[in-house]
């Protein structure tokens, strides 16, 4: 009876150790998320996002920094850095700042269909504002 109880305890402890090990291994090797199924916290036009950041960067960061947003705008530039990075830039030629969207590697092929003048919806993670507002891990929402 006692032996069986000890056996059950050992099995339970081993199960917990294995489960923790699998969780730790999975968590350690987790890649950056694909945003396909991630809901954006806000849907905004490129012009409105540029205005928000230009007027009050600190407040804009509190709202958007590190968050997933979806931006609608006209493509004003496409930058292909030797296929190591592919960036679609949204904006308006009359604006000094733009929205620079670095595409997720898994979504570069679909992004290459678009060119200057196309109106697109881009979902990505806002990383902040230098001369442009920067979005990472981006994909085009068809």
């Amino acid at each position: 009876m006692l032996t069986k109880k000890i056996k059950n305890i050992v099995i339970a402890i081993c199960s917990i150790v294995v489960a923790v090990g699998i969780y730790a291994y999975t968590e350690y090797n987790r890649k950056s998320p694909d945003l396909t199924n991630v809901k954006a916290i806000d849907y905004i036009t490129a012009s409105a996002l540029i205005n928000t950041y230009s007027n009050e960067e600190e407040m804009a960061n509190k709202k958007y920094l590190g968050r997933v947003i979806q931006v609608n705008g006209t493509v004003v530039e496409v930058i292909n850095q030797q296929d190591t990075a592919f960036t679609i830039v949204l904006g308006d030629p009359s604006f000094m700042s733009r929205v620079s969207c670095t595409m997720d590697k898994n979504h570069i092929v679909s992004a290459k269909k678009y060119d200057i003048g196309n109106v697109v919806n881009v979902k990505g993670i806002c990383t902040g504002y230098l001369m442009d507002i920067e979005l990472n891990n981006c994909l085009i929402v068809e």
Binding site: S54, Q81, T84, T87, S97, L130
Partner: protein
Amino acid sequence: MKIRTITTLSVFFIASSFSSIGQKRFFTKNSTISFYSKTTVQNIEAINKKALVVIDLATNKIEFSVLIKGFEFEKALMQEHFNEDYLESDKYPKAIFKGSFDRQVADLNLSENKTITVNVTGNLILHGVTQTINTVALLQLKNNAISATSSFKILLSDYKVKVPNVVGNNISKEIEIKVNTGALQQLK
């Protein structure tokens, strides 16, 4: 108009004034800044390809700005710890370097293909802390374009970056930073 807008606009207005007297100001929004932590336990690398770099050959100045959240790691967990626990990127979203070369480069002929070594001294603002950096940079002139590369090392403790003891052996106390501007555009 807010301070940030003024700062952004000033880049262009100052650039315009320099361009009119010598057209020696160059910039790019797509420079690569990477850093490396090497220990016996683990090597960590992160890369940011959207750094803003301005080089002014007329005044020997170089500046770069980079968004901390723009650094990408191979592993998401490392990226999260980097942003949330170590660099606190919500509080300190940017790193900025402002420095100058030690020699006159205003008379360089851009059409000449050559590489010039310069000493660079300046201030790096990271994690809300300003420290002086001395390093060497290579200015490359090729086909009427200019680019620059450099690397230097920083101590995490100098920038008040605290690493918990439990991962102390995984993260080097000294981090190597590499800058590769790629081709800069001349401001006109």
